[in-house]
Amino acid sequence: MRHTISVLVENKFGVLSRISGLFSGRGFNIESISVGETLDPQISQMTIITSGDDQIIEQITKQLNKLVDVIKVVDLLEVDHVEREMVLIKVSPRQEQKAEVLRVAEIFRGRIIDSSPKTYTIEVTGDEKKIEALIGILRPMGIKEFIRTGKIAISREGIK
């Protein structure tokens, strides 16, 4: 089962290597990882997408917690949260499909951030399913390359 794990770490050199080394050294799988500074510049936030059965996920969260530089670990599967990912897709459609590409980009609330005589580069943000769907639709029209940021996630606040 896939889990989104949010990890607060000390913003120090070598921490990313400690985290990635933990995964590789113990045979855990990382599907994506994204890292960035938080409100407190001394703390970084990592969002790790991983998968495994309950026992493996338990080990992953415990092992992450055990690292000296890790402040907090939250398995977001256990809390209500929102996830987003961004993709940049460079499409080179045939002349007659150019309008269709623009229309699809619009449907997906994408923006054209670069264009050349033969290509458009589209920026789209959304959850994983939306991005997969977009790639699926554009693929037959000629995707030259795409790049994804990996997911970031944040817990929802209660309404009250």
Partner: protein, 588 residues
């Protein structure tokens, strides 16, 4: 939180030494080299810090390890950059696997050269990241004192382990005020020391209700110093205790409740007790594969309680019904109070018959071997060592058959008298570890029970022993083979002894090696010579190699083949009729 009183400007090198003294370090094991010359220069005049010059950096780290295992305090090693640093890796990994507190100081090329593939540069922080509890590269002399304080704090608290500090040369020559912090506070590092009260109660109720309880004690009992608490816990529950190899001595071997060691080469009765138990209480044990055998058939009828300070140890290898996270000493003390004040366990006929059943197993298959008149049995040597030293020696071991016989046939009554490489299984550990132990305990009798293969992996350290007048004794159970590997070849590889014959009856001549280094060499080739050799070795106040030429065919039994269930043990083969079978009396 910095103490600004009495600050004094010092070089980084001086700050390192002063910081070590603040941490009550008196002995450092080390080897000099280019980038640590500044630190060694400071050591030259230092009256309070003793540097033990080893003959190899691996030796230095194992000595620090042995020192730590007998004292409970972090061992300290100091080496140079590049090869000096990489030579420490095995020793660090060894300490990490066995949760031994240690601080390793490595020199590094000047910060301006880091990353340039400079002479004797190695990314030791990167290399040791997976085998240290934590490590540092110090980039500012002002961080030095705090880093050292923090390193010792991390090494000795929680689940202990080795910490490495990499020291670029320019940091050791730069100067700043020496400010020793009053305390360290790491927001991301707060080990859980106290057990959860609700869970402890639940565990105590379940343990007291069990009819066939077994306590399996591991190295965590030693790390936590929870010997009295464990003894009381066992008595309160009237539960037999099996001690893993890491915990030998944590529960007295002569206690009627003692089952000895479990696992691959554990006692028949320990393994049978685990497999038939209805309640297994793991105390500071990670249930490693050498202990459990096949996990799917491990303790099939038992509920499992696991107490450990490291949450990752819980449910890592076996299923657990009641997990308790906390320091063993605290948790057992609290559970004992609950048992005494609230539960007041009583034993009915069923639980009495459980101990009777265990006694039957003890008498059916005690640890045994066949004594011979013409050839020395290695177990006989270990037994004689036990008899002559009355169980009071500090025993270190190498790895393999020698280690298993030392675990089986010497009885450990006291903690921190058994020093052996458990998790990593490092050949060449025992001899330098014995030297480190002897330095920590100058008046103790320290004996390394070695094999002829292992001893050759750090044999150069005999120079360190002789020069520092450390009278360690090495009992080489010389079977001319890498015995444990040979045993597996005999049993599982059709007696194809591929590259395990060492010819060490002749090469080297261990007696002459000892003499060449100014130590004493003794040899026994017949059983009748064993005792006189041991007595002579103990009498001389010098390092001694005892070369016992042993039966090369001897195997370690019982044996659970790798991947087998604990109750599928191979037991000693019956010997020819005329040989008198010698059975050791198991304690009842």
């Amino acid at each position: 939180m910095k103490n600004m009183k009495n600050t004094k400007k010092m070089t980084g090198a001086k700050i390192i030494l002063e910081s070590l003294k603040k941490e009550n370090v008196s002995t450092v094991f080390g080897y000099p080299g280019g980038v640590v010359l500044g630190i060694f220069d400071e050591l030259y005049d230092d009256k309070d810090l003793k540097l033990i010059l080893t003959r190899h950096e691996q030796g230095a780290v194992h000595m620090a390890d042995g020192y730590a295992r007998v004292t409970g305090e972090p061992g300290v090693a100091l080496v140079t950059s590049g090869p000096g640093a990489t030579n420490t890796v095995t020793g660090i990994a060894n300490a990490y696997m066995d949760s031994i507190p240690m601080v390793v100081l490595t020199g590094q090329v000047p910060t301006a050269l880091i990353g340039n593939d400079a002479f004797q540069e190695a990314d030791i922080v990167g290399i040791t990241r997976p085998c240290t509890k934590y490590n540092y590269l110090v980039k500012d002399v002002k961080d030095l004192a705090y880093t050292i304080k923090e390193a010792f704090h991390i090494a000795r608290t929680g689940r202990p382990g080795p910490v490495l500090i990499d020291l670029p040369k320019d940091i050791t020559t730069a100067s700043c005020d020496f400010v020793w912090p009053d305390k360290v506070d790491i927001r991301s590092y707060r080990p859980t020391m106290q057990g959860n009260k609700v869970v402890m109660k639940q565990a105590a109720v379940a343990a007291a209700a069990a009819k066939k309880p077994v306590i399996i004690a591991g190295g965590g009992v030693v790390a936590s110093g929870a010997y009295k608490e464990l003894l009381e816990f066992a008595k309160l529950l009237n539960a037999p205790v099996t001690t893993t190899m890491m915990a030998l001595g944590a529960f007295p071997a002569s206690n009627p409740l003692s089952l000895g060691m479990p696992g691959m080469h554990g006692t028949y009765y320990a393994n049978m007790a685990i497999q038939n138990s209805d309640m297994l209480i793991g105390v500071g044990v990670r249930f490693e594969d050498r202990v459990t055998g096949k996990t799917s058939t491990f303790a099939p009828h038992a509920k499992i309680i696991q107490i450990d300070i490291d949450p990752t140890s819980i449910r890592k290898n076996v299923r657990v019904d009641i997990p308790v996270v906390g320091d063993i000493k605290n948790v057992l003390r609290d559970m004992n109070t609950i048992l005494k004040d609230e539960i007041k366990p009583k034993w009915d006929e069923v639980s009495k018959s459980w101990l009777k059943q265990i006694d039957d197993w003890k008498s059916q298959h005690p640890l045994s071997y066949s004594l011979k008149n013409d050839v020395i049995k290695p177990q006989f040597v270990v037994e004689k060592l036990y008899e002559i030293t009355k169980g009071n020696a500090i025993i270190t071991t190498e790895v393999g058959q020698n280690q298993m016989w030392a675990a089986q046939f010497y009885r450990y009554e006291q903690p921190r008298h058994w020093v052996s490489s458990g998790g990593l299984g490092t050949m060449g550990f025992g001899f330098p570890a014995a030297i480190g132990a002897q330095l920590a305990k100058p008046d103790a009798l320290v004996i390394d029970i070695a094999g002829d293969g292992s001893i050759q992996m750090n044999i150069q350290e005999i120079a360190t022993a002789v020069i520092n007048k450390l009278p360690v004794k090495v009992a080489i159970l010389n079977n001319q083979y890498l015995g444990m590997v040979r045993q597996w070849q005999e049993l599982f590889y059709g007696e194809r002894y591929s590259h395990t014959f060492l010819d060490s009856h002749m090469i080297p001549d261990f007696v002459k090696v000892a003499e060449a280094y100014g130590a004493v060499g003794l040899r026994a080739t017949k059983p009748s010579e064993v005792e006189p050799v041991i007595r002579e070795a103990i009498k001389v106040k010098q390092p001694v190699f005892m070369d016992f030429i042993c039966d090369w065919k001897e195997k370690v039994y019982p044996m659970v083949p790798a991947g087998g269930s604990l109750d599928e043990m191979l037991l000693p083969e019956p010997e020819a009729k005329e040989e008198k079978k010698k059975k050791l009396k198991a304690v009842k």
